[in-house]
């Protein structure tokens, strides 16, 4: 197991470097620069800006400097757009916001999704099943940029119950709408995954054996069925949680939250090279780590799976 983890971690490093290199290349290929605006700058001023940020150097020097400071110091440099703010500080500051919203949304999705999915599977073809699957279908088909504004329209603008946007710290009432908006689609997916997984497991031999043993229905479901039935949910959790943790562009924008996703989209629009690279690398690392965690979790949940 330990060997497996070490091996996976070692593979992570070149992967990250490739991701950084590709990102760097794409930014260099993208037209425009961080300082360009409706008012075009006089050439001398443009030159001074390029010199100040080292953009006048040959490409291999710029690339080398970027990679070296990342590898040697774990330092992604200073934002071009936001004078004097280091990329590492920006990530440190915005990660908690994204993570708070993401984790809450995923917990909510997990609780509601697993419950609804399991009930639907246990009472297959009942009104519960149909109701929860209809809602799940809606959750999947209504995109969050539609759901968010509808929730704001109802709960903020019509009923004046909840604030329509902005970060209010943790915990605060400002969290409710973004978390609901964000969790809807995950809730729906999880409900469907849980239902499918449970249905399959409930038909399997070991559940029949458990029932035949005379276990109560409660024990059969909670102790035996859930463990196997939730395997699909677990493998889904890895990438889903990685994306939720590192910020969701649309929800953070609709609700004006100072999270990673908001920074990411603005950094791309602003051609803020160090910030883009920093956030991409961070997302890649998170994604790889989450997948690793899922693989480890798998091994514990399913005795048949062992890594060598």
């Amino acid at each position: 197991m330990l060997r497996f983890i070490v091996r996976r971690l070692l593979v992570t490093i070149p992967t990250i470097l490739v991701v950084i290199t590709i990102t760097w290349g794409l930014i260099k290929l993208a037209p425009g620069s961080f300082y360009s605006g409706e008012k075009r700058l006089p050439p001398a001023i443009e030159k001074a800006i390029r010199e100040k940020y080292g953009l006048d150097k040959p490409w291999y020097q710029q690339y080398g400097k970027t990679i070296w400071s990342i590898v040697r110091h774990g330092d992604f440099g200073t934002s071009l757009r936001y004078e004097g703010q280091s990329v590492n500080t920006i990530i440190r500051r915005s990660l908690p916001v994204s993570a708070a919203i993401g984790i809450l949304a995923y917990l909510l999705a997990l609780i509601v999704g697993v419950t609804a999915g399991s009930i639907a599977a246990l009472k297959q073809n009942s009104r519960w099943d149909y109701a929860s699957m209809t809602l799940a279908m809606l959750g999947i088909s209504v995109p969050n940029f539609v759901l968010g504004p509808i929730l704001v329209l109802v709960f903020s603008l019509s009923l004046y119950w909840l604030p329509p946007s902005r970060w209010g710290g943790f915990p605060s009432r400002n969290l409710i709408l973004p978390v609901l908006t964000l969790s809807a689609i995950y809730m729906a997916y999880i409900a469907r995954l849980a239902r499918a997984g449970m249905l399959e497991v409930l038909r399997s031999d070991y559940i029949r054996t458990a029932r035949a043993k005379g276990l109560s229905e409660r024990d059969v479901v909670i102790k035996h069925a859930l463990r196997g039935g939730l395997m699909p949910v677990v493998s889904y959790t890895g990438p889903a949680l990685a994306f939720l943790l590192t910020g969701t562009v649309v929800v953070e924008r609709i609700f004006a939250l100072p999270g990673l996703g908001n920074y990411f989209i603005q950094a791309s629009l602003n051609r803020d090279e160090p910030l883009i690279i920093g956030i991409v690398a961070f997302i890649a690392i998170t994604l790889l780590l989450m997948n690793l965690l899922v693989d480890i979790a798998y091994a514990y949940l399913d005795p048949r799976v062992r890594y060598h």
């Binding site: 993208a30 075009r40 700058l41 001074a48 010199e51 100040k52 500051r93 509808i150 604030p163 004006a256």
Partner: protein
């Protein structure tokens, strides 16, 4: 099954009624848009636009930052809340010399930074020099190029000195286009009073060596970069011969025409007469910054724990992308006038999100251009809607370097074919524009009239250019010979730009029978394509004033490389130069108007409209006026709790 269907039906009904409920809630008959309860504390909450790039006033050239800088930093002068004219700030008063080429500013003695350090003339000298330093890389540096040797220093040019005599070479000996010396550039003559007609008693200080040095003909400067310099020298044998054997002296910060005569008197010497110069001084580039903090912390000096400011407010907390909280600065010289305890700037850029926050009463005012097109129907009739012209225009740039748009008749035809009045009516808030300066913004400016909507003339001109327009049996037009594949309309991806593009496309189709293809692209890509003239035909353009003078618009075509059309005419440049050398403001305006007319006749662009300010503020926000620059001296803004004193409608810019 039937029960399940009932459940689904119930669910659908519920969602429909929710939607209905929300609709009824937005179309109410309230006089204001949303809640009007003033905030509990004496705090003003404002959405300033995009996240500020920096709190350093030398760095950013954006409007969102300009508003924040106005709270944090004071200048020699401050914008008038209504007219944006310069009003005394750290300078109590000033004097211009007889041709407005030199200014003396008399500073108040009680100016203080937020850490208690006094502000004197040396701080301004430091701030101006710093703004022009190459290492600062200020994007606004060009705004101070009127100051003598400012551009030469900013561009790191060099003087040429004869090592034997110690004399510098003068510009006018080598360049015929060098303007005649202004008073500030002629040798000092103690017998004549340079400041005599200013109406005030002239105060004579002993003349410093530096002042005498400035009062001399403009020195020749050459590029500091050897490669560029050699190129310039090779192109001019006479210059090359004169420079040979001479020494090159880099232009230093100390050479710029800015001098502290004493601790509280500042003198600024210009390259040319510039009667509008004091109007420029309220710009962020000229606001005073703390010498000590900058030297100590470098680029980190604007971080909340390090920052020292000079304005009516100082930084309390700063959470980037969330909020910037400023509090009243007790050290500020005019702290007694400051009415608010705090200002909260919220960086937000999604207009519907901003408007929602405004509606529920969590913010008190929003930045300009915030009410989305689709909301205007509802919001424009409310009494908290700010209606008024902006010192900004929308226009179309034309790439004049390629056929068929290199033919002025074709360009004129496309201009004649747009019904700008109909456009303005459709857009609801803008004003139709036929000239290149915004209408109704510069009092006393005899703005020339451009060509009005005239589809017959448009068709005639196209025919003359070799693209005859024929009328079809159904009454529509066609122009089969026009090379539609050689012309396109590009714009940056945004709903309102798309609407404008489609509107123009329809006009040309209807009146000329020509269908121009539209191409949208991401903002920075668009800027790049436009700047490099990699487009054919038309490109969307918008321009807003840097300062309150028509020249801020007309100067767009003053240099060729930067206007995105490829059009440059030395005659036009000469006309502008002539105007700016004219001392009488009225005569100067007339000459500028003549130049504008010349530009309109050449038609390297199509003016579309004078933009509208288009923002909202709660009626209890007072002292904040819908001026054409959307720039607000924050010290006058306050929260009025008595509804009888509220603003019901857009406050007047002329009444007291």
């Amino acid at each position: 099954m039937s029960k399940q269907k009932q459940i689904i039906m119930l669910f659908l009904l519920a969602s429909v009624s929710i939607a209905a409920l929300s609709c009824s809630a937005t179309s109410d008959k309230d006089p204001f848009f949303g809640k009007t309860a003033p905030p509990a504390k004496n705090v003003f909450r404002y959405v300033s636009g995009d996240e500020p790039e920096s709190l350093d006033p030398a760095i950013s050239n954006g409007q969102p930052e300009a508003r924040i800088y106005m709270a944090l930093y004071d200048g020699l002068v401050e914008y008038d809340a209504k007219t944006l004219e310069p009003r005394p700030a750290l300078a109590e008063r000033w004097q211009a010399n007889n041709d407005s080429s030199e200014f003396k500013f008399y500073l108040r003695h009680n100016g203080r930074f937020s850490n208690g350090d006094p502000i004197d003339a040396n701080d301004f000298v430091y701030s101006f020099r710093r703004a022009l330093k190459k290492e600062t890389a200020s994007r606004n540096a060009y705004l101070s190029y009127y100051i003598k040797y400012a551009q030469a220093f900013n561009e790191q040019r060099v003087f040429v000195r004869d090592p034997q005599t110690g004399q510098f070479l003068n510009a006018k000996d080598f360049d015929d286009t060098t303007p005649p010396e202004p008073l500030a550039g002629t040798p000092l003559d103690t017998a004549k009073d340079e400041y005599s007609s200013s109406g005030q008693h002239a105060e004579n200080e002993p003349d410093s060596d530096f002042h005498k040095q400035l009062h001399a003909p403009l020195r020749l400067t050459l590029p500091g970069d050897a490669k560029a310099r050699n190129k310039a020298l090779d192109a001019d044998p006479k210059l090359k011969a004169a420079v040979a054997g001479k020494e090159l002296v880099p232009v230093k910060a100390e050479d710029i025409g800015v001098e502290a005569i004493d601790n509280y008197t500042l003198r600024i010497s210009l390259l040319q007469p510039a009667p509008f110069f004091t109007g420029l001084l309220a710009h962020q580039l000229y606001r005073v910054v703390p010498h000590k903090a900058i030297e100590k912390y470098g680029s980190q000096w604007t971080q909340p724990q390090n920052i020292v400011s000079s304005g009516p407010f100082k930084v309390k907390t700063w959470q980037p992308y969330d909020k910037l909280v400023l509090e009243r600065d007790p050290m500020y010289w005019d702290a007694a006038t400051v009415k608010l305890d705090e200002i909260h700037f919220y960086p937000m850029s999604d207009n519907p999100t901003i408007m929602n926050l405004y509606k529920v009463g969590e913010i008190d005012a929003v930045l300009n251009h915030t009410v989305p097109n689709a909301w205007l129907e509802v919001v424009k009739v409310k009494q908290d809607y700010m209606d008024g012209p902006e010192a900004a225009i929308d226009y179309l740039l034309i790439n004049v370097t390629q056929p068929p748009m290199n033919d002025v008749r074709v360009r004129k035809a496309f201009n004649y074919a747009i019904d700008k009045n109909a456009w303005a009516t459709w857009r609801k808030i803008v004003k139709p524009l036929t000239a290149f300066t915004p209408e109704g913004i510069f009092p006393g400016y005899p703005q020339p009239k451009g060509d009005q909507f005239n589809p017959e003339e448009a068709r005639r001109l196209l025919g003359e250019a070799g693209y005859p327009v024929t009328k079809k049996a159904d009454g529509s037009y066609s122009c089969p010979k026009f090379p539609v594949d050689q012309v396109e309309y590009i714009y940056n991806t945004q709903e309102s730009n798309k609407a404008m593009a489609e509107w123009m496309q329809a006009q040309w189709k209807q009146n000329l029978g020509i269908t121009i293809s539209l191409r949208n692209m991401e903002w920075k890509t668009f800027l790049n394509v436009r700047a490099k003239l990699e487009y054919k035909g038309f490109s969307r353009g918008a321009w807003s004033a840097d300062y309150m003078d028509p020249f801020t618009f007309l100067s767009l075509f003053y240099t060729g490389g930067e206007n995105g059309t490829g059009w440059l005419d030395p005659k036009y440049v000469a006309m502008l130069d002539d105007a700016n050398r004219t001392l009488d403001p009225k005569k100067r305006y007339e000459l500028l108007a003549k130049a504008e007319k010349f530009l309109l006749d050449a038609q390297p662009m199509i003016p579309i409209d004078t933009a509208a300010i288009n923002w909202v503020k709660k009626p209890y926000v007072k002292g904040m006026y819908p001026n054409p620059g959307s720039l607000f001296p924050w010290k006058y803004v306050y929260i009025e709790r008595d509804p009888s004193k509220w603003d019901y409608g857009t406050p007047s810019l002329t009444a007291d």
